[in-house]
């Protein structure tokens, strides 16, 4: 059974279509990134999945049930974009309260440990830093041991170090056979922490696959070298090349097949190739290309 199934789901606010005919299925046990720019419809999709808002049209199922039923059964835990805690209560009190709402929660100590909160357990929530608050919100999301964990831009308020620690916690939770869906507009995060990336733009899925497939779909990798004064003729005809840009003596070739392009560059041209650099096209470029074509 799919963990999540959205069939032709739309959500309109007056004239604005926040989500526009979204089709999406997700198997249980995977970690999937919902990647897209601000305003792409990620949060709207997530809020519909959690039953917080109702779709204008279409059908949503979570483990074969409606979102409301899945929430009531304790199948879902989520970390929403905003949210402050009750200031007068301690971390332990908050986490323990939420975990007791679920039918089959994780042990309190384990939740605190997984969210790296053991040493902060007796601190009042109004005395936490931004990053610490996010960790508590993560703890609240996993406390009930939900089968599906949903995270809406969870690292938005974190510094680099907190981010790394956060994703480690997330992976540890996912490793126990859970399904994780997270929204992000950080491309690196999608690449590093998911085994499938769904790119969303303008309320629709515009690409779906592994991070590598997404990159390939948008023009693969790049090969860069110094051309100096040499002629650039014929570079666009090299195997695999999908685009050539030259900027102050440096050539960047976009290629769908980096090995073939590099081999040909040395064997089939007489160019003096210097400072060769091969880059994955970063997901950023792939992402821009994909979301741009959705807008066109």
């Amino acid at each position: 059974m799919n963990a999540i199934a959205l069939t032709d789901v739309s959500k309109s606010y007056g004239e604005v279509r926040a989500v526009n005919g979204m089709d999406l299925t997700m198997e249980a046990g995977r970690t999937v990134a919902l990647l897209g720019p601000n305003g792409a419809g990620k949060s709207t999709t997530i809020n519909m999945l959690l039953g917080l808002i109702r779709p204008t049209a279409g059908r949503i199922r979570v483990f074969g049930r409606t979102p409301d039923q899945a929430v009531a059964a304790g199948d879902i835990g989520a970390m929403l974009q905003e949210g402050t805690l009750i200031p007068e209560l301690t971390v332990r009190e908050l986490v323990d309260f939420v975990r007791r709402l679920y039918p089959d929660p994780l042990p309190l100590d384990q939740v605190l440990q997984m969210a790296d909160l053991t040493s902060l357990a007796s601190r009042r929530s109004d005395r936490l830093s931004g990053g610490q608050t996010q960790r508590v919100r993560f703890a609240l999301a996993i406390a009930g041991s939900p089968k599906l964990l949903v995270l809406d831009e969870p690292t938005a308020a974190m510094d680099v170090e907190s981010r790394r620690a956060f994703w480690e916690s997330m992976r540890a939770y996912a490793a126990q056979g859970r399904t994780v869906l997270f929204a992000t507009h950080y491309l690196e995060e999608a690449d590093e922490n998911s085994d499938r990336v769904i790119v969303v733009a303008r309320g629709k899925v515009v690409a779906d696959g592994t991070a590598a497939q997404i990159k390939a779909g948008a023009g693969g990798s790049s090969v860069e070298f110094s051309l100096g004064g040499q002629s650039s003729a014929g570079l666009d005809a090299l195997p695999g090349v999908t685009g050539v840009t030259i900027l102050s003596g440096t050539v960047t070739l976009r290629t769908a097949d980096v090995d073939a392009t590099v081999a040909a560059l040395y064997r089939k041209t007489t160019l003096d190739v210097r400072d060769l650099r091969i880059g994955g096209v970063d997901l950023e470029d792939a992402f821009l290309a994909l979301t741009k074509s959705a807008e066109a």
Partner: protein
Amino acid sequence: MLNYVKLEATRMLRNKRYIIFVVAFPVGFYLLYSNLWGNQVDQATGVRASVSLMVSMAAYGALAAAIMSTAVPWSQERQSGWLRQLQITPLPSWMIIVTKMISSLLLVLPALLLVVLAAVLTQHVSLPVGEWAALIPIMWLGTIPFAALGLIIGSLVPPDTAQPLAIIGMFGLALLGGLWFPIDMLPQTMRTIAHALPSYDYASIGWEIVAGHTPPASAVAGILGWAVALCALAIYAYRRATARV
């Protein structure tokens, strides 16, 4: 549910505003007033001022506790995202408002009982057992309309507005209900308004009990009417505030 009630009670007992308005004020004023006028005796009823003041200040404290433990906290929870956090757990939606009501009733008790305790300890107030047994439960459950009013405020407006509204509501009801001074001292129009308020009915029942009378049917009907109307409105406002669209 118990878990949730405990959470709500814990957080309010740590809230400074609750402690000051709800516990310190009524007890403090009782001590002050009863020291000034405690031994005066009402000619009409023969009740000592230390006793009627006990009812007035307990009524004020209970009313304040009912409104302060509901309006602003609930409004803040809606705005801060805590409500959404609860909505994505298995906690049923109706349980939130029921818990708020039960917690509010619990949080009324310290205000009510501390004033009574202060009266008994400092003014040696003593009432027949039957009067105590009628007074305390009625003054306790009589706060239901005020808690409902607090929930209505919390459901309808953001915290910035809920705060002044709650304070105006609390002092307005206390003042016009005759909890601070007898409403006979007010001009006629305000007296008419006062008679229509739940706080006047609420306190009247208490004053009548300590005077040894059966509470007037009009006051009992008044408070029941207010309770039904405000609870219905609170449920409506709650459903509107938590509607998922």
